[in-house]
């Protein structure tokens, strides 16, 4: 409907209570002020409404945020829905931002044209023209596939030579900077290359063998001494034991003792003849302890020997550390790479991949709650309204509330027809009786009303027309409680869109699809 100047004056007169002449006068004054401001190159702002500015004689109007928001009160709570890849129309021209598919195909063109999508996707594959780099990759793949059957190792070398010598495209791309020396970085981990470390291990093993030889020699020496002790007097043997085990302890702590060779010869002879007597060993160890305590106070040089020993024992650890370092390095690189892939959205990792600022429609919809109009319905989770018991209270009209309520409930309540669902009725559909079990699907919203009475009147009207009408209350802090009357219950967005296409005027001109709950 068009509101011309005279009609606007009438409405202003009725609304404000100001006389018609004064209204016309003030309206003319307003227009004159705006034109003067624009003529002077200024802008004229009406608080809460917008800004008038001008280019030449042409007046431009920029609506205020309040106005732009308030005229969209019907869509409060609706946020962009990220579509699943399966229900999205393919776009071959993907480099273009914000492609509006609805301009030519309607809002659900992508959902309704699955066959075209398949054709497009096939076409996209057929139109792929291999570039030089892709050709090279295919060539390498074929070589890799053939490689398991190449039992002759010489052919591998020949292929490598060919790769090195081949000019042109093979030298382009990533292989241009291929360095064979780098390829061997991880070869040690794969077991196909010997590292120089085993030499160090051998040396360390030799050192360890020397150490253990020394200890064995000490055992042999003890055996020899025990044999001597069995033949000689105890007191003399004690003195000798002190001397001998003192030397033995020194040998144990100082591996470079030049007298080791002499003791080894003696121990070899003794080892061949007798076994160890453990009692004598204990006595000797006590004597050795005493001797060690005495010498620990006297000879500080033993500390240096101990440090020497610790230094020699280090190579045995160092042999395994490079492998451990490589393993740790690979784990760190793998973890970092995975994190990077997740962070940049290549791989969807919960908690790492940044979530877009969009969310599902009506995210704040917890469990349904009962609604007061129906008392006789035996406690379904979502109670149904009783349209027969309610008379239309006011003519249905899209009227926003002038003063939004300060505090609004934060839950969405859904109700439908109170009649029992027929046995043969499918769970989802456009027509029939609303089924509370189908409230997990989608619906086509055709009315958003601020008054419950108007909404229920519309609900009854649609029910009488045979539609499966659903009434949902949407809380809004800005506009108060909104009542959405919608048609049908559909399992998916696609089926809802298909059904919406069958709607007739006036529903076909202004609707939107959203989740029921």
């Amino acid at each position: 409907m068009h509101i011309d100047h005279s009609k606007l004056v009438e409405i202003l007169t009725d609304t404000s209570g100001i006389e018609k002449d004064k209204v016309e006068e003030q309206l003319s004054e307003l227009v004159a002020e705006i034109q003067d401001a624009i003529a002077e190159g200024d802008a004229y702002e009406v608080d809460g409404f917008g800004v008038f500015s001008g280019i030449g004689n042409k007046v431009l109007f920029i609506p205020a945020d309040e106005l732009a928001t308030e005229i969209n009160y019907k869509y409060v709570g609706m946020e962009p829905i990220e579509l699943e890849s399966g229900s999205v129309a393919e776009d071959d021209h993907g480099t273009e931002m914000d492609v509006d598919l609805a301009e030519e195909e309607g809002p659900f063109g992508g959902l309704l044209d699955d066959e075209d999508d398949d054709e497009d996707s096939d076409a996209s594959f057929s139109l792929d023209v291999p570039t030089q780099g892709e050709g090279e990759v295919e060539h390498e793949d074929s070589e890799e596939e053939e490689a398991p059957f190449d039992l002759d190792g010489n052919e591998t070398d020949e292929e490598e030579d060919l790769e090195i010598e081949s000019p042109g495209p093979d030298k382009w791309g990533i292989d241009t900077y291929k360095d064979d020396s780098d390829a061997g970085m991880f070869s040690g981990l794969l077991g196909d290359k010997k590292e120089p470390e085993p030499q160090g291990e051998e040396e360390a093993d030799d050192d360890l063998n020397n150490i253990f030889d020394d200890s064995e020699d000490e055992d042999d020496l003890e055996a020899q001494i025990s044999k001597q002790l069995s033949d000689e007097k105890i007191e003399e043997s004690k003195d000798e034991l002190k001397d001998v085990f003192a030397d033995g302890e020194e040998d144990h702590e100082d591996f470079d003792d030049p007298f080791d060779s002499l003791e080894e010869d003696e121990s070899d002879d003794a080892d061949a003849e007798e076994e160890v007597v453990p009692v004598i060993t204990n006595l000797a160890s006590e004597a050795a302890k005493k001797k060690r305590e005495e010498e620990a106070q006297e000879d500080p040089a033993e500390d240096e020997d101990e440090s020497t020993k610790s230094k020699r024992s280090k190579p045995s650890r160092n042999t395994s550390s490079p492998v451990l370092l490589w393993v740790v390095l690979i784990i760190v690189i793998f973890a970092g790479g995975t994190y990077a892939l997740g962070y940049f959205g290549i791989v969807n990792i919960p908690g790492v991949t940044p979530q877009p600022q969009i969310a599902a429609t009506q995210p704040q919809q917890p469990a349904p709650q009962t609604q007061q109009p129906v008392a006789q319905d035996p406690a379904p989770a979502i109670q149904k309204a009783a349209p027969e018991n309610q008379e239309p209270q006011q003519p249905a009209e899209t009227q926003p509330e002038e003063q939004p309520a300060a505090e609004q409930p934060t839950e969405t309540q859904v109700s439908g027809n109170s009649e029992a669902v027929p046995n043969g009725q499918p769970k989802y559909g456009l027509r029939g009786i609303s089924n509370s079990a189908a409230n997990d699907g989608y619906t086509i919203v055709v009315f958003s009303l601020s008054k419950e009475g108007n909404a229920r009147a519309k609900l009854n009207e649609l029910n009488n027309d045979g539609y499966r009408a659903v009434l949902a209350s949407i809380p809004s802090q800005q506009y108060g409680q909104l009542w959405r009357v919608s048609l049908g219950q559909f399992e998916s967005l696609r089926t809802a869109a298909l059904a919406a296409d069958t709607l007739k005027s006036p529903f076909s001109e202004n609707y939107f699809i959203t989740k029921i709950k």
Binding site: S16, K58, E402
Partner: protein, 65 residues
């Protein structure tokens, strides 16, 4: 011209636009509502988004410049 008048005028124009009516003011121009359907958009990151519908105010100046 009082502030009350300006406020009333803004509310009336807003309500008429919500009701899909166009409002014309002589010497100034025509206000009308434009409905933008729910539509799919492909974002630069490759995600497809179903954008909810919205209404906007379109102003046509009386002076075409």
């Amino acid at each position: 011209m009082t502030n009350e008048f300006l406020e009333t005028l803004g509310i009336i124009i807003r309500d008429q636009i919500i009701m899909k009516n166009s409002v014309e003011i002589d010497g100034l121009g025509l206000f009308k509502a434009v409905h933008h359907n729910q539509k799919q958009e492909k974002k630069s990151d490759g995600t497809n988004v179903m954008v909810p519908p919205k209404d906007t105010v379109e102003f046509t100046s009386e002076n075409k410049g």
